[in-house]
């Protein structure tokens, strides 16, 4: 039983770390980047001012990709800990 509990605890720890990692990425693209929009606008990407680009497309695309990766990573964690649902 002790190992089962330890395994569960490890599973939750990895789940929590994954959540923190993704929220850190989210924080950067949700807030930090836009805080510096005036400075980023001086750079250009595909002719876009970068500050504008990030708010109109860049951050959004990051969120979408991030969520597909998150789903995959969390599933891997669940499987390795033996707590994933049966297929």
């Amino acid at each position: 039983m002790a190992t089962a509990t330890a395994k569960r605890e490890q599973h939750w720890q990895r789940t929590r770390n994954l959540m923190i990692t993704h929220l850190a990425i989210w924080f950067i693209f949700a807030f930090v980047v836009h805080w510096f929009a005036p400075q980023l606008n001086k750079i250009s990407f595909l002719h876009f001012p970068v500050g504008f680009y990030m708010a109109a497309q860049g951050s959004l695309a990051v969120f979408v990709i991030q969520l597909f990766i998150f789903a995959k990573q969390q599933d891997k964690i669940d499987r390795e800990a033996g707590v994933a649902e049966e297929d």
Binding site: H34, P38, H47, F52, A56, L60, V64, A71, G82
Partner: protein, 613 residues
């Protein structure tokens, strides 16, 4: 060969069904486009478009009728992730997203993009913090989770209260939008249009609850995304930006930056009381891609985005969509698909706003109006048509006979509604846009009405008032609630009180003030207990509402520039402090509750609440 194999289930046939449906819709579009060239009138096209699509939704709603509890509340938990993603996207994108977002960007520039970032970034919170765990819990409604996790009727009741306040603020605006579209295309008074809109909405939801709403929302998503993208692709191809403009409009932005200097955008301002003269109209006074340099501008951007994100993760009509997936894993991928389908519209809106602006401002383009003589502009058909119903206005302040940037007023909605006409596209496009707007408003209204009615019938009636009620009675009560809330919403909408009820942003702020931390901590903090949750919801809702009242009507100076659209920051902060403090001052929850939280954290195994409860 039969199209559908004998014995294969409805779920297996879903891709075929919806591909057929999409093909049918495109065919219908082509047919109307053809009939237009044969002289069919604009009015008839509009009526056919809107009524044809609404009849289809109602038909799907009728096919999905049910008398089973889990089918009614959670669509039998058999919705595949991709389809649930489409349904969530339709549920999410309201009439306002569809009609007003591009116009908001046109008028508000970079600052308005805080909505775009907020309404997408919120899904990261939904996926990482909430959706999979609520799915594992097996609840029917959001208050169902709060009530079971923390125990006691008081928690359940408070959660129902927050849900009703947040969702009702939102649903009135949606019924209002369906009424506006119905009245404009069918040519009936607004008050009648509102009730026609309500009947259409209820036809989708009444008989089949969540199951019916799910399958109509998928159908509505397909219509709304086609209706949003086709005009943009067509227009962009016609104006020479390529068929897929999203990656190429950078040069259009560069051009706008030059034109802003030429036309003195932000320097020329309208004079006099514009709000009284042209209600709801605005002149362009904000730069397109240039954010304010001050720290307060950056602060306002991030606080607005934060409110929209935390609000997204607390709005019950969105969270409950993830109760319908077959597994916890499917709930996670479903959030990713939802955001992808939402992204398709949201990353098109800034492109549309940019093109429209360029068309109006660039003297090298035939469509431009700024800088031309006012007589010439007044002779344009689309200006005449939209100024007749008060959506566009022109006033020559300096009397030079030329149209300056500060002399042209428009309503934000016009950017989506009139751009096809500005670019000289056929009327069938405008009919398509009307059908898309109707789909967007109806699908959101359906989700919201169902969220409210389900909370009242399941949590208030069944769990608190009459726990012995039999299935039949429960489902009848659920439908009576739906009818009642819908009628109440329409009544408020037909009285045109929505201006008083306030902005859509308020719904997000209410939801995050009351529900965000009780939901998150319910999963992520085992120590969180009943007293803490009660304090979190009551203090959050109370402080948030107080701040809203004081800033909006009480004459209080907003703290650090946080106006009424951002009151959720104050409410949610108060909620977090109250919840943590009260939890730590009272006893830890019992072993049974702690075990329940442990169980929620792993995907495998039975749901906490039975499949039928």
């Amino acid at each position: 060969m039969p199209l559908f194999k004998k014995g294969s289930s409805f779920i297996e046939n879903l891709p075929k069904i919806y591909i057929l449906y999409t093909g049918g819709f495109l065919l219908f579009f082509a047919l109307l486009a053809f009939l237009e060239t044969r002289g069919m009138g604009a009015d008839t096209i509009g009526i056919l478009f809107v009524s044809f699509t609404v009849v289809i939704y109602a038909f799907i709603g009728w096919l999905s009728r049910t008398m089973q509890v889990d089918a009614y509340y959670v669509a039998g938990r058999e919705v595949p992730p991709v389809f649930n993603g489409m349904a969530t996207a339709a549920d999410w994108m309201s009439g306002a997203s569809f009609v007003a977002m591009a116009g908001g960007i046109y008028l508000g520039g970079h600052a308005y993009l805080a909505f775009v970032v907020g309404w997408t970034g919120g899904y990261v919170l939904v996926a990482t913090l909430m959706a999979p765990y609520l799915r594992k819990f097996g609840c029917y409604t959001v208050p169902d989770f709060i009530g079971t996790r923390y125990g006691g009727n008081a928690t359940r009741l408070l959660a129902v209260l927050v849900l009703v306040i947040a969702s009702f603020t939102y649903v009135t605006a949606q019924i209002n939008a369906t009424g506006t579209i119905a009245s404009r295309t069918l040519g009936v008074p607004f008050e009648v249009g509102v009730w026609i809109g309500l009947v259409s909405i209820l036809l989708c939801a009444m008989l089949g609850g969540m199951r019916a709403v799910t399958w109509t929302q998928v159908a509505q998503y397909i219509v709304l995304i086609i209706a949003y993208l086709i005009p943009v692709f067509w227009m962009s191809a016609k104006q020479g930006f390529g068929v897929f403009p999203h990656f190429e409009y950078g040069s259009a932005i560069q051009r706008i930056l030059e034109l802003e200097t030429l036309h003195q955008v932000g320097i020329l301002k309208p004079t006099g009381d514009i709000a009284a003269q042209f209600p709801g109209l605005k002149a362009l006074t904000v730069l397109h891609a240039t954010p304010g340099e001050s720290a307060i501008a950056a602060w306002r951007f991030v606080t607005l985005a934060a409110c929209m994100m935390l609000g997204t993760a607390s709005l019950p009509h969105i969270l409950m969509r993830y109760f319908t997936t077959p597994t916890v894993r499917a709930a996670r991928t479903s959030v990713a698909w939802s955001l992808f389908f939402i992204f398709l519209l949201y990353f098109t809106a800034p492109a549309l706003a940019t093109f429209t602006k360029l068309q109006l401002l660039d003297p090298n383009l035939a469509t431009s109006i700024i800088g031309r003589s006012i007589d010439e502009v007044m002779a344009l058909t689309w200006i005449q048509k939209w100024s007749a119903i008060g959506m566009v206005a022109i006033k020559d302040f300096n009397g030079d006979g030329l149209l300056q940037i500060n002399e042209f007023f428009l309503r934000g909605d016009i950017v989506v509604l009139a751009t096809p006409e500005m670019a000289g596209l056929p009327y069938v496009i405008s009919g398509l846009v009307a059908a898309g707007g109707m789909a967007a408003a109806m699908s959101t209204a359906d989700g919201l009405l169902l969220a409210i009615a389900n909370a009242l019938s399941h949590d208030l009636y069944y769990k608190i008032i009459d726990p012995k009620a039999e299935t039949r009675k429960r489902l009848i009560v659920a439908r009576v609630m739906l009818l009642f809330i819908g009628a109440l919403g329409s009544l408020v909408a037909s009285l045109k009180l929505t201006g008083i009820l306030g902005a859509v942003a308020w719904a997000f702020c209410f939801a995050m003030s009351g529900l965000f931390f009780p939901l998150v901590l319910g999963v992520w903090w085992k120590r969180a207990n009943r007293a803490g949750a009660i304090a979190g919801m009551a203090v959050g809702l109370g402080v948030g509402s107080w701040y809203l009242y004081m800033v909006k009507w009480g004459g209080m100076v907003p703290w650090w520039g946080m106006d009424d659209l951002r009151f959720g920051i104050v409410g949610a902060t108060a909620s977090l402090i109250a919840m943590v403090a009260v939890t730590l001052m009272t006893e830890a929850p019992d072993k049974e509750t702690q075990d329940m939280v442990d169980e929620v954290r792993i995907p495998r195994g039975k749901t906490i609440l039975g499949s039928s409860h």
